[in-house]
Subunit: 343 residues, 4 copies
């Protein structure tokens, strides 16, 4: 059986990556492809890498155009998805790649985004405890942010196993520039970003903090607090997250390693690397994998977890398709290649 | 029906890319994976992007290990493939990613390589006139070089249609560093190549010239002469070739465009872009596509063709798998995704 | 004696580089610094690398602000400099980094730019025969374009020595993205340019052709015709030019090498590298040098010259300062460091 | 008065950068230039960016060759400098860019390096309290490591002012690949590093921790403990350090900002950026500057300081020349340009 899927925001980086994966998906037929200011253009002009879809025309992003598909992907700016979702049938699977439906606490949403909370949808990170079950059969799914995906995969096992202190988690992430989107800004010009690194959205970055704390708190069963600093790296794709947390007294390296390995032993897309091997973002380029390595810095009493994902694949479009597969009862790995592109 | 395939040279860039494609190929089961100095390591240590093959052990590259497969890929240094191929059964499909069996003229081979000629195998560039037919059912295939792939696809239509002068073709190509291989050399260190461009192997580059001239001469039906300069660009993958040739008197832009469009109208992996759109190597990253655009510089009387490929995919491993598909009677596009990874 | 200098267009890449050099110049005191839409900002916000000038305020670009300096640098869009220059005193040294005053033939200017010709100023490439003399004491100077600088330095010696055929010069250049300026365009985003190469302004690039042909024709004493293709490389700075021309019958490698070495033997900023060493753009990063190497492709009958410059230094701001030094009677190398930054 | 200087390790990145600065230094005459395996080559072959020194010949690194200069720079592997320094006259200024003489505690040295401690020399970071005085007239100077330079400049003001808790400092740094040196290793190939990020020497990185803790403890007047994770970024030069420490109760943003601004108000090479502006490594490329910005994450109770330096300039060669200037009684900024190269 084949499902039909519509993709909005198709001229952006998230939309393009969703289309790349769907075009290779054995169970999906791509229906409407929509955009905002680029409606009327062909996809070939805007996403020249999507060779087999080059002649497809971009339509306007309206409920009428999006309706009538089994699945609708929303890759829209913050605040735009709730309205459209409300006008789509309840039995349509709506997958929101934006932030609108990720947070559970309306007060937190309003504090960080300054607008009314649109509601909370099942959170599309199946590797977290209990999440895969909540995605099965779901008809509304919130795709996690790319930074939170990397941070939650990096630290959730330690909190779920009760090995880590709940306060004073410190995270520094480096992201490729596609994480900043396709809007043209002077500081994102190639001449500005090539050959350099800079902190990135130190203000805006805080928006990701409540999503990280929410997920880690769920894993820990109690509030977890976190300091997060994003940086911008001179590469188009990829996130390298360095996540550290204080280890509870009496916990040693063996217990830490066992917790992480056990958590991901059966996961198709998360790998704890063999000891001695450290992850590199290039090894997950275009794949839906996250790879991790951990060290116990006994001197500082901290576990240091390095985690890499492709921000557009596992961090956005791949996570979205993986969740879609679960919701529709398909093979969880369908359409998601298991190899990265390297070098 | 599933075919078994062995891959030698699996620790290098070409070998890694062959494995990436075969791992996604619906009709191939990967058998022996071999290397030279890295035999005994796991693939995960050397090709960490091949997540689903991470635990596979590299074996020695011997005829005994490679025998017993339907297909054997040789991704070996120049001069190493003839010996091994001779020890493999005649009905095994042997695909040589190296240079040994590409040239037809033993004298030319000996002039440029200084060793006895190993023989000529069917040339794995099915888009050239007559080549697809010669690959059907073949049991020995020579994979074209990455630079020649881009140059032949760029210019063959004009020579085949009789529109170009046979002398004084001028080609300048920019290649990503993976084209220089994985051997550690000081000039290939990241610190040396990032942020800079340089001519590359101006001496060694000439080795590609006879392969280019051979292919263009076949298309033209008469000898074609060419000047070729390769340069090294600060990117891991991709080739951008700028190929120019003098246009015969009386030939105009319309005739040129018609020749190129007609030549590739039915090709699954070669696209002449719509007028006004120029190719970028990022649009073919990881895909088996070549995309082209052409201009007629009337002032200079030259056609200028810009062609992009991924040097490791269409330029090496993808071309090899495409030829394998033809030789085995499979769908020509099997295992070869139709989308690139961008941005 | 110290001269005062004003710099317009100070928020752009050319203006920033002019300021970087002037700030280190022993004989220059920086006066007014002007911009268009960024007037009122501090330089520190726009050019954070200019630490010693961080608190300087950008003023409006008007003749009143620019007047009263010994030297005025114009780093303005095409068409904007003639008006301003006309309102500056005749004994002010006005140095135009734009295209307006480079071409000698008004008809050629009008064909390529579609506007009335503003006049021809002494051409600031002192290494060309006779040009240094015309710059001494000049009060109006046209700074060459960055591509033409590289092409003229690459080929002028061969034409001046009568060794090359005048028709069918073929040039392909790769430029860093700063050559495309600081205006925000989607195709210049870091996500788009990192990791890829593309042809660049194949239409617009032709605007450089008449400037190249003008300079080579002057060197040859007869019209020279040329085909030029610019490409965009994933680096912020630098130009690598591959320039080829047909060698006249009877001319061999020794005569070629001797011509190039003799032409630049006494030049402080142009080096013909020792045989066997090829230039890399990184070796001239931030320096005012051009380095060259040449080969004789006997097979094709062409000389191939590789030339590298920093497009913002020798290609723009360094060339401007070098010419200023000559015009003012200063040491030609003042303020221009002799070392590049590498790696 | 002119001083003569010899530079050992001249074929490496640190040695090349020392020579770049000395070549522009008004008070220094470059004497012997030495190397190990590259002795007998010209500098032009190994450091093609040093145009004015291209013909200089590399000599062997022996005490005899190095003796007889006013200043000797040692840019040698760990463990090699003590022997040579012992054979140089006591009144020669010996500046060690290696690690041998940085640590004060022999036990700590032996724990991290596994060899006998060579002694402690004055530490060449004049911006730390009391350090400038200890460098004046010194004849032996230990150049700080590049990571410690960035971390000490980032955090020392807060510890010196008593605003920060002494335990649980967390630092994550991203370094350009030149920080890993010029030795050819497979993981440092351009194909491997371009387009990706990875943790880097998580084991070896710990060697920098005691140097950081030593400097911060001196500033704090009590032991400070720290967790440090270095990562490798796809750029040739630059370090971006994200340093966080817990703020003592009652301390607010105003007190933090005042401490940092006061500490660096008179420093020629350290700038606390205006509020709202964040540092980028490109703004310090080739310059001897460090630029900083700080934020107070009240939610986590941590100050977050972003600091950027060029690892080869302020982080190595520039710091060495700055310390030399102080030791010799020269202008502290002599030979050290005040502008970076950007874009």
């Amino acid at each position: 059986m084949t499902f039909t899927a519509a993709v909005s925001g198709a001229s952006g980086y998230a939309g393009g990556e969703i289309l790349r994966l769907l075009a290779n998906h054995p169970d999906i037929e791509i229906g409407a492809i929509t955009a905002h200011s680029n409606a009327g253009s062909t996809l070939g002009e805007l996403q020249p890498q999507l060779h087999s879809l080059a002649d497809r025309m971009l339509q306007d992003t309206t409920p009428e155009v999006l309706a009538g598909h089994d699945v609708v992907f929303l890759a829209l700016p913050h605040g735009a998805s709730a309205d459209i979702a409300a006008q789509l049938p309840a039995d349509t699977l709506v997958i929101d790649a934006g932030a609108d439906h990720r947070l559970q606490d309306p007060a937190v949403w309003e504090k960080f985004y300054g607008s009314p909370h649109a509601g909370t949808w099942p959170y599309g990170l199946p590797e977290l405890p209990g999440h895969r079950e909540s995605l099965a059969g779901a008809r509304r799914i919130a795709v996690p942010g790319c930074y939170p995906t990397s941070v939650l995969l990096a630290l959730a096992p330690g909190f779920a196993a009760g090995l880590l202190e709940h306060d004073d988690v410190v995270v520094v992430s480096a992201s490729g520039t596609s994480g900043a989107g396709k809007a043209v800004k002077a500081n994102l010009l190639g001449s500005e970003v090539m050959g350099g690194m800079s902190p990135y959205g130190v203000g805006g970055g805080h928006r990701h903090t409540p999503e990280m704390e929410q997920g880690l708190s769920l894993a820990a069963g109690a509030p977890v607090s976190l300091s997060f600093t994003p940086t911008l790296a001179p590469m188009a794709r990829g996130i390298l997250t360095t996540a550290t947390a204080k280890v509870r007294p009496g916990v040693g390296y063996a217990a830490l390693r066992e917790a992480w390995e056990a958590a991901y032993a059966d996961e198709p897309f998360v790998r704890v690397l063999p000891e001695g091997q450290w992850p590199t973002t290039k090894s997950v380029l275009g794949s839906n994998h996250a790879t991790l390595q951990l060290a116990f810095d006994e001197h500082a009493g901290r576990v240091i977890v390095s985690a890499v994902i492709d921000n557009l694949t596992k961090g956005t479009a791949g996570g979205a398709v993986q969740s879609m597969n679960i919701a529709l009862g398909l093979d969880e790995t369908a359409g998601l290649t298991l190899q990265g592109i390297a070098p």
